[in-house]
């Protein structure tokens, strides 16, 4: 983990509402693992102090890429940063995905929102190809199809309005596939919490292992502030674990989706 002042080599609207941010960040690139994130200090909003977390999308040589959407103050300011400017970036952070075991676990990736960006590195470094199930509200939300196909993965798209791929929720074609064959498969999911819960339920129903990357608001990103805690099952009952440190990736069987009374 390092805190680097890195050069922005690219920052542009890339697909749909998503921007591509490319950073020359050699130390972070060298250590980055699938499912990890970076914590970026955004200039130009001096009264909004906290860093913002973004999943590591691609690593190419010294370059780390991020895909992000403008949702609020920080991302709006990030979109105004120009190539050539520098950003303070902390990373790589968090406990990421474990690579599928070749021959034993065929990976089924499930993505919504920015989740597909978080899964790319896993797909790229996986010893075996599998299927990416990607869902969104409409066509413009669906990212990186070609990037995953270029890796040799099968991509099945769902949109809620039917404007692209199957019409419905992403868990529907996933259910069909698991019903066809669950044995030897493993799920990896990243997206909105509702989607993750549905994936966890499917994993339990079909008895498959699943890793979910949780989307928790963060503050420090390194495990000291205790903002990002999620309840996790333990031998003795349950405890809070930190989405920025023990996570964001967790074994779906251990995630408690509500805090026990």
């Amino acid at each position: 983990m390092v805190d680097e002042l890195v050069e922005v080599t690219e920052n542009r609207l890339w697909a749909g509402l998503y921007y591509l941010l490319e950073l020359r960040a050699p130390a972070i690139a060298a250590e980055a693992q699938p499912g990890q994130f970076v914590h970026i200090r955004v200039p130009g909003c001096a009264d909004a102090l906290l860093r913002r977390p973004f999943s590591i999308y691609r690593v190419q040589g010294e370059t780390v890429s991020v895909l992000y959407k403008v949702v609020g103050k920080g991302t709006a300011a990030l979109a105004r940063v120009r190539a050539g400017e520098r950003l303070e970036v902390l990373g790589p952070l968090g406990h990421g995905f474990s690579l599928p075991r070749a021959g034993e676990e065929e990976p089924l990736l499930v993505a919504g929102g920015y989740g597909v960006a978080a899964l790319y590195l896993l797909a790229e470094r996986s010893p075996c190809r599998g299927i990416l199930f990607e869902g969104g509200r409409t066509r413009g939300d669906v990212l990186c199809e070609e990037e995953f196909r270029a890796l040799g993965w099968e991509v099945r798209v769902t949109t809620e309005d039917g404007s692209h791929g199957w019409r419905g929720l992403v868990t529907e074609p996933l259910r069909e596939e698991l019903a066809r064959r669950a044995r030897g498969r493993k799920l990896y999911a990243c997206g909105p919490t509702g989607m993750l819960r549905a994936v966890a339920r499917l994993a339990e129903e079909f008895g498959v292992a699943a890793e979910v990357s949780l989307d928790e608001p963060m503050c420090c990103g390194v495990g000291v502030c205790l903002t990002c805690v999620v309840p996790v099952r333990t031998a003795e009952g349950w405890e809070y674990q930190r989405a920025c440190t023990e996570g964001p990736v967790f074994d779906a069987r251990r995630v408690l989706w509500e805090v026990p009374a």
Partner: protein, 321 residues
């Protein structure tokens, strides 16, 4: 050039520590900073038993600050000693253990347990907590209760005892004096300021707990004044904190009367701040031909009164409009 200061019996190689709750238990930031360069490491508050903490959201970003209601999540004394103390023990700089309790007896018990622990630098009492026995009155906003908590901890330990005062009081002077009278070796000023942020779309507070504590650069001018007020009233050293982001901020606190400073919220977005404060302090001293950092303590020249040491109790009147 001397940067070393004394906090009670504790010698710090420089006057910069970190604020409890913003630096975990040291090990987390060890990958980013050489902790042995700090004056001391102050850890997240510990009480007798493990505490899970408040419902989320636990923090909210506000204008130039942070609102938090973490709920003092922690491993308890045993968990701290087992999981975190081995790492802290091998540091070459002292550890200040921040402690709290729900009753006076609990505070004293925690103090006693750490008194028995070899190698602790100092204890910092977080009194911004409700007294469960007395209907929830806060220790830090009731002079009588504060005195009893400090006295009980004083009896329980020979370690340097730092009492961390609450800022939301009409005057910090009686609290500083009571803390000093009952045996504190030093004071910490200030803890977070009670505050509230409401999400206007949901009509709910932005924190799961409702009320939270305000910290960060937005509160610095309030903290600097409280340090000044306390420094005029007591002789024991003060660790000043509240929105420090730079060496310039730290110098304000020293000039106001602090002997040491702590970097808090800034750790979250600029983890190297504490080290930059140390380096910047040295640069400032060099530029001004100051050989010993202690020459700065309390050296603000207030109108009409000169130094705080000579000022006595500052005028009760706020000078503002």
């Amino acid at each position: 050039m001397n940067l070393a200061v004394q906090i009670g019996g504790l010698r710090l190689q420089n006057p910069v520590t970190v604020a409890s709750g913003t630096f975990g238990y040291g090990v987390e930031y060890a990958r980013l900073l050489d902790l042995n360069r700090l004056g001391a490491v102050t850890v997240k508050g510990i009480c007798l038993r493990p505490v899970r903490g408040n419902p989320k959201p636990r923090t909210a970003e506000v204008t130039s600050g942070l609102l938090n209601a973490i709920g003092l999540q922690g491993p308890g004394v045993d968990g701290f000693i087992r999981h975190y103390w081995p790492f802290l023990r091998q540091l070459r700089v002292p550890t200040i253990i921040n402690i709290w309790g729900t009753t006076i007896e609990e505070y004293a018990e925690v103090a006693r347990r750490f008194d028995e622990l070899e190698g602790v630098g100092a204890l910092e009492l977080n009194v911004s907590c409700p007294n469960i026995k007395e209907g929830g009155a806060q220790f830090g906003t009731d002079c009588r209760l504060l005195g009893r908590v400090v006295a009980a901890c004083r009896r329980a330990t020979r370690l340097p005892l730092i009492t961390k005062l609450s800022p939301n009081v009409t005057s910090i002077v009686p609290y500083a004096r009571v803390a000093e009278q009952e045996g504190s070796d030093a004071l910490s000023i200030m803890n977070s300021y009670p505050a509230l942020a409401i999400d206007i779309e949901t009509r709910r507070p932005r924190l799961g707990n409702g009320i939270g504590g305000l910290t960060g650069p937005c509160i610095k001018p309030i903290a600097v004044k409280l340090v000044y007020d306390a420094a005029c009233a007591v002789r024991i050293p003060i660790i000043g904190m509240g929105g420090i982001q730079s060496a310039a901020d730290a110098v304000e606190f020293l000039l106001a009367g602090a002997t040491a400073v702590a970097v808090g919220t800034a750790n979250f977005y600029a983890p190297r701040t504490a080290l930059e404060v140390i380096e910047g302090l040295q640069a400032y001293m060099k530029r001004h031909g100051i050989g010993d950092v202690r020459e700065l303590i309390g050296r603000v020249e207030m109108p009409g009164t000169g130094r705080p040491a000579e000022a006595g109790a500052p005028e009760g009147a706020g000078g503002s409009d």
